[in-house]
Symmetry: C2
Subunit: 275 residues, 2 copies
């Protein structure tokens, strides 16, 4: 079973379908929210996985995923990562007649030059798939949606134009999550990454610098660093750090432990490619 | 004129009202999107400001604001920062009768324990204010919304319960933006912060570490660090760094310049408090 952020036709479902091929697991269940995905996994048997957006998301909030990884740390770990190319399509009946365009605010933002050129009025809705559903139910030529090709197909509407986003390199990163302790046996090899959450001992100049010095001493390449409010008090931060997993990762973690209030290892996992 | 992310009754409008008192500027215009706020400012006269969410936002995506700060760097700078306490309220007719609850996905997520306890079905919509509008137009006791007190007042609906979010320390950070070169003369003193965007020369172990070493050498306290995809190529990152502005900031920037592909100074600005 693979749980993903819905609705059907969303980019998360597209990512889940790709993970399903990799895992050889065919049942995909669309959930109402990122939280629901985590909760389903918490109550699931060991052979279930979840797929949620983690970076530059369209329908989901990235920060939500980051917060839930911390909240569910007792039970959930990361098992994989996959970048999906976001290919926004104009969906509807007749491009020349469109006056009003529906989509998720993030998708509208990513196509703003295109929308501006056509002088369309924008209407924000809760997801790109929801936008297509709306345009289908309105059933008039003057409305259109911005969504994936898959969403257009699902609601049997025409793709009037493809790749209408302003930046060509528009990707969303999805992570594969599951209950901790799963053994994911996959033939392919490839880059391995790790994610940790680190809380500094005190908020002072150089505190973060000392942590990065340790990564530097181990010759480890960081691929992401992000500070997030700790929710304990205002101005108190924790750091999410991704890095290419070194062979001596255990030694690295041990070295870090001496300089932080806590370190939570969210997983060492494969970076999958789309093919 | 102050442009803010709408709709009316959103947390962004609440932030804009607080900034309007500080600035002594009474006209607030609600825009359709974060992008619209930037665009209005780009075409505005010098005495206009904008208010957009920058961290842990409810209605807006934080990453969108970060991307637009880079995109509009030629014309737009940051002039202030303000943290707003998010006080989610249950809005509707009769708490006992509610079966279905409308709100923005982020707000639903922030009240998930509360919602779970009551076993309500959740329906994601595009903003918290939109949720209240919907509940008003449905006009039946079995629906409710999660939104601000101000949104309830705007649509003349009852606040059935206050402070229903799961974490007490739930704040959203808003920034005050305007065309570059504005002189903001304010009597009060207080903490000053700066924001820069830095692009490393190459992606290799220790590249970020070298940058942080310079901040450390200047004894400057970082308050946020965030990597974001550069949009130029996959796996290529830029860094957003906030820090307490030192007296010798010009020397700091000069020292950084020697170690980066570029550095963009988005502003040195006051951190305002709510009172």
């Amino acid at each position: 079973m693979i749980y993903c952020l819905g609705p059907k036709g969303s980019y998360s479902e597209i990512a889940a379908k790709l993970f399903s091929k990799i895992l050889g697991e065919n049942t995909i269940v669309c959930c109402n929210s990122i939280y629901d995905v985590f909760q389903q996994l918490e109550n699931s048997k060991n052979n279930s996985y979840g797929v949620v957006p983690s970076e530059n998301s369209i329908e989901g909030s990235v920060s939500l995923t980051q917060d839930l990884l911390l909240e569910f740390y007792d039970k959930i770990r990361i098992y994989g990562e996959l970048d999906i190319n976001i290919n926004h399509c104009l969906v509807g009946y007749n491009k020349e007649k469109i006056k009003k365009i529906y989509s998720h605010p993030q998708a509208l933002a990513q196509c703003r030059n295109y929308i501006k050129k056509h002088e369309w009025v924008t209407v924000p809705v809760s997801s790109t798939a929801e936008a297509v559903k709306l345009v289908k139910s309105i059933g008039r030529e003057e409305v259109g949606a911005i969504a994936s090709k898959e969403a257009a197909k699902l609601y049997n509407l025409k793709v009037l134009e493809e790749g209408i986003q302003d930046y060509r390199n528009n990707t969303t990163r999805f992570i594969l999550i599951g209950r901790k302790g799963l053994k994911l046996e996959l033939k392919e090899d490839g880059i391995k990454k790790s994610t940790v959450i680190v809380k500094l001992i005190e908020d002072r100049p150089g505190a973060l610098y000392e942590i990065l010095k340790i990564f530097n001493d181990f010759n480890v390449n960081l691929t992401r660093i992000e500070s997030r409010p700790s929710k304990e008090e205002l101005g108190n931060y924790i750091f999410y750090i991704d890095y290419i997993t070194p062979e001596n990762e255990e030694d690295l973690i041990e070295a870090l432990k001496g300089h932080v209030a806590y370190i939570k290892h969210l997983g060492s996992y494969r970076v999958f490619s789309r093919n």
